[in-house]
Amino acid sequence: MNPGPLTDLMEPTGVPAGWEAYGDERKPRMGFFTDTSVCIGCKACEVACKEWNLIPEDGRVWTGESYDNTSQLGANSWRHVAFVEQRKPLYEGASDENPLRWLMSSDVCKHCTHAACLDVCPTGSLFRTEFGTVVVQEDICNGCGYCVPACPFGVLDQRKIPSTLNVGHKPDLPPIGPLERGEKKDGRVWKCTLCYDRLKGGHEPACAKACPTKSIQFGPLDELRERADARLGKLAAEGWNAAQLYGRDPDDGVGGFGAFFLLLDDPEVYGLPPDPVVTTRDLPEMWTNMLAAAGALLGGITVLTLLGGRRK
């Protein structure tokens, strides 16, 4: 096999593999900058996403985890607003007897520069679009589920309920529950498409459009990165506590996010990995290692058989 193309997976080039192939059809790389310092936790993004993409309801479980009843990204929630209550002041050194801040952050697929889900997909259902985003093709996905554990952010998941469940005007449908007998689960894997269809039509993604405070900003990635740097500088000047950009730089483990964030605390506080790495970065090494093992197996068996000598 040709290790050539593999090695460039390891290079933090910041250029998404598979994107150049579009040649002149290639569009500027689009993405999200989610600025959590202005997120009011209204969840408009979650609803806008579901309305546009006709995603089935994700169940009605009250969690007791602040105002978050969505809990995590998954096949039926492509935006998830996290709510974190902390006994910390919003501004550094603010003199407050009992400091308190309420962090809110709208999580989404990161559309990684080096996307594990995309790499491991065996069918080519997951692909890199002309906008540099990563999309699951629902007409191709056969639900093998490989991308699910491959994603370092736990974004993708298999839809275990029927696709149509509680979508739109369907009075006969039951609320989310265990599958009825004979009811067929969708079985495919779903995630944020960065509204691929809307982008093709020249519209901004539904969540970004809805966001009341423009905590979710959509645009060409380079532009967003500049904006983010300026924003971080401003917050630093205003003394915001632990403000930091997450996934902004092309030299991180996934070559930078297509959808990156401004957080007000470390990533793990929001349920995000502090140092995500695209698993396929180590694939060439793994392949070589495997070939060695295979050789050893071949040799080993032969040797062991020979030990007994030829039988007449």
Binding site: V38, I40, G41, C42, K43, A44, E46, V47, K50, E51, E57, D58, G59, R60, V61, W62, T63, G64, S66, Y67, N69, T70, E85, R87, E97, N98, L100, R101, W102, L103, M104, N166, P175, I176, P212, T213, K214
Partner: protein, 898 residues
């Protein structure tokens, strides 16, 4: 909104949401804007990004607090103490905007000698009548103000403007010319309003605020300082409030107190200033302008009153102010009668005034529920509202409905108010049995906003037209269709009736063009009638100054006159904001009055008509052109010079001087002190909520003496501070809304995507309270009052801060969203089942933002155990109605004359 009406002249927000971006400081109080008005909140965020300070003063730490530069936690219901504290701080430290106060407010006006303040009468103002339990406002008047004619008429004149009527300015101002008789420009006279204010609030020190509200002295001072530092010539601050203020027995006075603060700081009528009243419903402003309220006619014209108005002339005299725009009251009224009755209303028959129905002091919705419970109401029509969940004391509401003869419910889904007879807590407990409920019920499916044309008036007085997108399916119909055809059918039935009783309904103009297969009446035709036209020529009117009192014009709502100017639907103007010259965007839809966005905007210029500062220029006098100009439509006669002095005998608007921006007021000024129009006092005073674990630190008069209580067995009250059994209901409870749901839930618990976001009724408590009573996060709690008990999931959170009160007492507050009921995709107990029906005297709004409760772990008792459980606790608490009635301080006073 009488609070804003009496203070400034009009019952609406003084500014518009986009203008919040120009504020240097925004005080959000009595509102959780980020959660309940998220998209409007973008303008607060814009301001914050420009460096404005955002202060959130609220019992809870909400999503708004999370965005604020500072949150100050106060005890629910203690807002006047806090605001009064600011007034005092501003006055004591000379932080007020002297020039503005002197010229634009009634601070210099001298009040009658007979007036006595609460500071003198231990919590009562002069004129308290213990027998009636109400005030005679005579002594509150301006010095030397001529009282309308004889004693007989005096009564007519002066009790005239009440509730929403006064919500639109003190009508019968009683001034015979534009200037108050007695003034002291130096504001030194001991009886001038300025000095009265000083004395009234002198005890509202930072320390008093801290121990009454439960915040720290530092927090309070920081708020006062920041606010004052960001007000004046070159800076402006805005106040934002919502039902966190209105839903109190002193709701109107809370807003009034903010109005006082804003007047002293010179923030009214200026960019980045004002008081932004946030209304909760798409057209709740519209439904008071064109009221579905008992006590007013369109445009805040008072309904005729059983006791007050003998005939048209009395009615006119009582409501026509000789000065200011209420000088044209007759024109407004006559034009409305022409719109209602056409040629049937004429000068000869006094425009049918004699035949109009008369109201009593209170025929409000809670009065009606009382009457239902007493079996006096037979028929009821509910259109797009859900009292069974949304109104205080849900049990009383539902039982009330169950005693009707017939009920019509119009909604998009089958709400609790339609299903109470087979699915309600009362059915569950056996107090209500379907086979014993006589109510005949018609449920009619309604059309949604996408299925009809029409206009909403939003929170900033902006009329916005929405076009129909699709046809309503099957039996779904608009309210326009329902009421039009209902009227048509009724008129048909009464066609041949000779009965005097039917004269008025037969006289109604009821011709509207209809379209489409279902005969939907044309909403635009109705809007045209609202705008009005000249009967002779049929020419559409361009504004209320064109209205005539001789019956030659027709207008369905004078303040909306101009919304169909030139026969063009002005409310349907949709010119994109990026194509408009300023952020005011006055070519988008149409704002009343006369497309003015910041009202009283003449105050954005100094007495000479020059902007107070370049930074805050908005509307100013253009010497060359000899007219007022600026970013917005001037809220002033365009060519009236800044130094215009009314000649003697000048009337109506001509009697208002060029230096007085508040053109609806009889004296053209904003009112720091309200001589008339309010039921419970000319100045806001701190009273405890009806139910409170605390006594009034200022007076032996504990709560608002004028608050409306009732004698219903279904509405018992919890004991209050100092009474036996207070310990049964030791906690303060406050109710509220969440971003994910809408009021009683009919419009959101029916939507999957919203139901899953907030799927269950829950209560918010602090870890200390949780430890105190043994509540666990994620578990269940039972919350109870004398009215009822409900269960809710427990959310333990630091956001419900316990507050340190006077003499070191700690008060815990329980937070309850009130969206849930028994119907819909997600169900739960209703917080309003716990609330009582004690009301604000001016607007008859219930106090659900602050009352008392008990809480314990576990789910509530089921079935018949529930009422038993509630009754047992009530007995233990010696609560009213079971034991001797509580003796209220004001009742004591009845026997001992003050």
């Amino acid at each position: 909104m009488p609070s804003l009406g009496t203070s400034f002249g009009r019952g609406g927000a003084t500014t518009f949401q986009q203008d919040l971006q120009n504020a240097d400081c925004i005080v959000i109080m009595g509102s959780n804007m980020a959660e309940n008005h998220p998209v409007g909140f973008q303008w607060v965020m814009e301001a914050r990004e420009r460096g404005a300070k955002v202060l959130h003063v609220d019992p809870r730490f909400t999503r708004t607090s999370a965005m604020a530069t500072k949150h100050v936690g106060i005890r629910a219901g203690s807002d006047i103490a806090f605001l009064g504290g600011i007034v005092n701080y501003v006055l004591q430290n000379d932080l007020y905007f002297r020039e503005y106060v002197e010229h634009y407010t009634n601070a210099p006006v001298i009040i009658r000698e007979e007036f006595a303040d609460t500071e003198e009468l231990d919590g009562l103002f002069s004129g308290w009548d213990p027998e009636q339990g109400e005030y005679d406002v005579q002594t509150w008047m301006y010095e030397g103000m001529e009282v309308h004619g004889s004693a007989g008429q005096r009564e007519e004149g002066f009790n005239a403007t009440k509730g929403e009527q006064s919500g639109h300015g003190g009508h019968g101002g009683g001034l015979q010319h534009g200037e108050p008789p007695a003034e002291d420009k130096t504001m030194q006279h001991p009886r001038c309003v300025f000095q009265l204010l000083k004395r009234h609030y002198q005890r509202y020190t930072p320390e008093f605020v801290a121990e009454t509200c439960g915040c720290t002295v530092e927090e309070f001072v920081q708020v006062a300082e920041t606010l004052a530092a960001n007000s004046g010539r070159d800076r402006t601050s805005a106040f934002v409030y919502a039902v966190g203020w209105t839903q109190h027995t002193v709701g109107v006075q809370m807003i009034r107190c903010a109005a006082v603060v804003q007047q002293l700081l010179g923030n009214i009528g200026r960019p980045g200033g004002g008081i932004m009243a946030l209304r909760g419903h798409a057209s709740i402003q519209g439904s008071t302008d064109i009221p579905t309220l008992y006590n007013i006619l369109p445009g805040y014209l008072p309904m005729p009153h059983t006791e007050t108005y003998g005939d048209l002339e009395h009615y006119m005299q009582a409501n026509t102010s000789p000065t200011g725009w209420w000088g044209h009251f007759r024109a407004y009224f006559v034009s409305l009668m022409k719109a209602y009755f056409g040629e049937n209303a004429s000068d000869e028959n006094d425009w049918l005034f004699e035949s109009l129905p008369r109201i009593d002091d209170d025929n409000s919705v809670y009065f009606t529920v009382e009457q239902m419970l007493k079996g006096k109401v037979k028929g009821y029509i509910i259109a797009g509202e859900n009292p069974a969940v949304g109104h205080a004391n849900g049990k009383a509401q539902r039982l009330g409905l169950s005693r009707l003869e017939w009920l019509v419910v119009r909604d998009v889904v089958e709400i609790e108010s339609a299903a109470f007879w087979y699915d309600s807590p009362e059915v569950e407990s056996g107090e209500l049995k379907p086979e014993e409920c006589a109510t005949e019920i018609f449920f009619l499916p309604a059309a949604s906003h996408t299925e009809k044309d029409g206009s909403f008036t939003n929170t900033q007085r902006l009329l916005q037209w929405h076009w129909q997108a699709v046809e309503p399916k099957e039996d779904c119909r608009s309210e326009l269709w329902f009421y039009f055809h209902l009227g048509r059918l009724i008129k048909q039935k009464l066609e041949d009736s000779e009965d005097e009783r039917d004269k008025l309904v037969k006289a109604l103009r009821w011709e509207y063009p209809t379209h489409s297969g279902i005969l939907e009446p044309s909403a635009e035709a109705v809007l045209q009638e609202v705008n009005g036209w000249e009967i002779e020529s049929g020419k559409f009117l361009s504004g209320y100054p064109e209205l005539k009192d001789d019956g030659s014009t027709l207008c369905g709502c004078w303040i909306y006159c101009g919304c169909f100017e030139d026969g063009i639907n002005q409310t349907a103007r949709k010119k994109p904001h990026w194509e408009q010259d300023s952020y005011v965007a006055n070519q988008w839809a149409w704002a009343w009055p006369s497309n003015r966005h910041i009202i009283y905007n003449r105050a954005s210029a100094d007495p000479d008509g020059k902007p107070w500062s370049e930074r805050k220029r908005y509307v100013w006098w253009d010497g060359e052109q000899g007219k007022w100009t600026g970013l917005d439509t001037p809220d002033f006669e365009e060519t009236k010079e800044p130094h215009y002095v009314p000649p003697d005998g000048a009337a109506a608007e001509d009697a208002i001087a060029g230096g007085h921006p508040f053109i609806m007021q009889a004296d053209g000024r904003s009112w720091l002190y309200v001589p008339q129009g309010l039921e419970d006092g000319p100045l806001p005073t701190h009273y405890e909520p009806h139910e409170s674990p605390f006594d009034n630190p200022l007076y032996s008069q504990r709560a608002n003496p004028r608050r409306q209580q009732n004698d219903l067995a279904e509405d018992p009250y919890n004991p209050v501070d100092g009474e036996p059994g207070t310990d049964v209901y030791p906690y303060v409870v406050t109710t509220y809304r969440l971003t994910e749901h809408h009021t009683a839930g009919g419009m959101t618990r029916s939507v999957n995507y919203l139901s899953e976001l907030q799927p269950a009724m829950f209560c918010e408590v602090h870890p200390d309270l949780a430890a105190e009573v043994g509540l666990e996060n994620g578990g269940w709690a039972t919350i109870y009052t004398s009215r009822s008990a409900i269960e809710a999931r427990v959310l333990v959170t630091d956001r419900m801060r316990p507050l340190r009160m006077k003499d070191g007492r700690t008060v815990h507050q329980v937070g309850l969203p009130y969206h849930w009921g028994k119907r819909g995709l997600v169900t739960g107990d209703s917080a309003n089942d716990l609330a009582h029906m004690v009301l604000d005297p001016n607007v008859h709004i219930q106090e659900v933002k602050a009352f008392t409760c008990g809480i314990r772990p576990g789910r509530r008792p089921r079935g018949a155990d529930l009422p038993r459980f509630v009754a047992e606790l009530r007995e233990r608490a010696h609560s009213r109605r079971e034991q001797d009635p509580r003796v209220e301080p004001e009742e004591v006073r009845k026997t001992t004359p003050s």
